[in-house]
Every structure is written in C-alpha cells, then in structure tokens.
C-alpha cells in the first residue's frame, strides 16, 4: 500500500519537529552536483558528493545513532547557505559543525582548515604546522580526503607546495570549480 506524498512529508516533518532524530538529511542540487546534507542537533555533520543514500544512512547511524531519517527542514539553513555560496553572495558559512566522530588530530586539522579564508589557498604543510605537527603534511592530506563537511570546511582551498591542486574527494574538477567561484585560481593554473 502506497503512502501519499503528503502523509510521508508530514511524518518526516513531525519526526524532526518532535526532536526525535539523531540525524536529519536531505539531497540538495547544486552547481557541483547533488549533495547529501546531514545535520544533528549540534550542527552540520556531513556533506557528501555523489552519495548512495542507503550507504550513507548506515554510516550516519553508526556514527551518531540509529534514528537517521530523510527530513529536509532541519537542513534548511545549510542548504540556503550553500545556495548563497554558489550564487556568490556568501563568503563565510555561519553554521555549527558536528565533528564528534573525528579523532583528535583530525579535529585539530579541521579546526585550522575552517580558518582558511574565502578566495585564498594554503598548503598541506602549512596546515600541518598550524595543527601542531609540522611534519604531518601527508596525514593532513588523509584528513582532507575524509573531510566530513566539504565546502563548509574548505578543503578545496588546500593545495600542494608547488600550487598544484593535488586531490579532492569530490574530484579535481569540483575543486577547480570551487576555487574559480572564489577567484582563488590564476587562469594559468
């Protein structure tokens, strides 16, 4: 028996309104593709490129608790700010980020990453230094690769010591697109 879209929407909204969810998520279309955006009551906990929603629901349940439900409303602020960012009208995200699953070093790196300004780039080595482990550039690369909230935590602004883009979990094309949007790239690079 098929549940009507109205009834389905109404339950998903009520579940969030009653504060019963560990994680609420939504799929959101942007110029860099469809993103899965997930939030807890502490903030945005995941932004994922090319997500397989079922696999992500499993992962989110393991990390934050089993009450994971697609419910768009709690993600409204994140999605609105992403829209503004892509429209070029927002430079800084005004969002809490839930980094509970991150380990100590990863968290330190992500906190430093959050400070890299719009339109600028830094290097893996610099970030390692700022996180207190100057020789850990490679480990910083691994943290960037597993960044739970790309775009909001701007791992696209981290490049190699020679200025090469190096890598990006969402693919180098997207890294380039984001940096071009922020006018952080020379046309030649």
């Amino acid at each position: 028996m098929t549940v009507s879209p109205e009834l389905d929407r109404s339950f998903r909204a009520a579940a969030a309104a009653e504060g019963l969810l560990d994680v609420a998520y939504a799929l959101h279309d942007t110029p860099v593709g469809r993103l899965l955006v997930a939030v807890t009551d502490r903030g945005v906990c995941e932004i994922h490129y090319d997500a397989d929603p079922a696999a992500e629901a499993d992962r989110l349940a393991r990390a934050f608790g089993s009450r994971v439900l697609r419910s768009p409303r709690p993600t409204d602020a994140v999605r609105r700010q992403l829209d503004e960012y892509f429209a070029g009208t927002r430079r800084d995200f005004d969002l809490e980020v839930d980094l509970r699953p991150a380990r100590e070093f990863g968290r330190a790196v992500l906190e430093q990453l959050a400070l890299v300004p719009y339109g600028e780039v830094t290097t893996y080595g610099t970030l390692a230094q700022r996180a207190g482990r100057p020789r850990a550039a490679r480990a910083v690369g691994a943290v960037m690769n597993r960044n739970p909230v790309p775009i909001v935590l701007p791992c696209h602004r981290v490049v190699g010591a020679t200025g090469s883009l190096v890598g990006y979990a969402g693919g180098l094309d997207r890294k380039r697109t984001l940096l071009e949007l922020e006018r952080a790239l020379n046309p030649s690079s």
């Binding site: 929603p53 079922a54 499993d58």
Partner: protein, 154 residues
C-alpha cells in the same frame, strides 16, 4: 548489513510504511488511518533506541500500529463517534476485497485474518503484532474464517 544490526530508521520506515498503513486502514478506515500512521511511526521512533537487534521488525511495527489503532477505537467507543463509512473509499485498494469481506468481524479476528491472508505473515508474527501467543493468533484467524464461511452460507 546483518539482521542483528538495527537498521537506520529511514530503512525501517521505508520497509514498514506500506504494511502499517494497510493494517491501520483495515482497522480504522482511510481518514483515521492517516493520523494513526503518523502516531505509529512517532511511537516507533521514540522506542527505536531501545531496540537491541533488527529481527522481527515487521511484527514490531505492526504491533505498534495495532496498539495505536486500539487506542483510537477505544476513544471512538468512549465518545461514541460514528464508525467511518468503509464503503465510501473512493479508489480501489490492493486489499479492498479482503477488507470488505472482513469488515464485520470482531476486531481481533479481523486483524488476524488480515495479517494472515493479506500479508501472509506467520502466526508467530501475527501473535507478536497482536500481543498474543501464536496459538491465539491461529485461533483468531480460523474462527474469523469460520465466521466468514457461515456468513457466506447464510
């Protein structure tokens, strides 16, 4: 993912929403079923963290739906609000025939017949859903069927 792991609520909701709605419509009629549907899954959501494994989730969901529907029926009886007109449903339902046939059975027999012949659930699951033993579920279903046969002959 193995059955011992409690799945994300999203998956539970996707898999159980159809059967839950069908059971609620069978017990309450269409309009009341929508309210009861939301209440059923909100109750499930409140209880979800206390689940220790992912087994028998269908029976668990149907049991909650049954409890919600019984609450609605009790309230209805208490305020003697008229029972909804089950014949006024405006579109054909997959379980229409069974629902029409079982409409006049006592509540427990109706639920048992519905779950057995509409959903092909085992008596063990039906018992769990109705909060009784599997033997009691079997008896409720067979006495429901006897009653239907008698009616057919009369």
């Amino acid at each position: 993912m193995d059955v011992m792991t409690v799945p994300p609520f999203e998956r539970f909701y996707e898999e159980q929403q159809g059967p839950v709605l069908a059971q609620l419509r069978g017990m309450l009629g269409r309009d009341a079923a929508d309210d009861a549907f939301q209440e059923t899954f909100l109750r499930a959501l409140r209880a979800y963290p206390s689940l220790e494994h992912g087994r028998h989730l269908r029976a668990w969901a149907l049991q909650i739906a049954h409890n919600v529907a019984v609450d609605v029926l009790r309230r209805r009886q208490a305020t003697s609000v008229e029972v909804p007109d089950l014949e006024s449903i405006d579109e054909p339902l997959p379980y229409e025939e069974l629902r029409r046939l079982t409409a006049e059975l006592p509540e427990k027999e109706r639920a048992a017949v519905f779950l057995r012949y509409g959903y092909d659930l085992s008596y063990e699951d039906i018992g769990a859903a109705l909060g009784s033993s599997s033997e009691a579920a079997r008896q409720a279903a067979s006495s429901g069927v006897r009653r239907l046969r008698k009616r057919e002959l009369s």
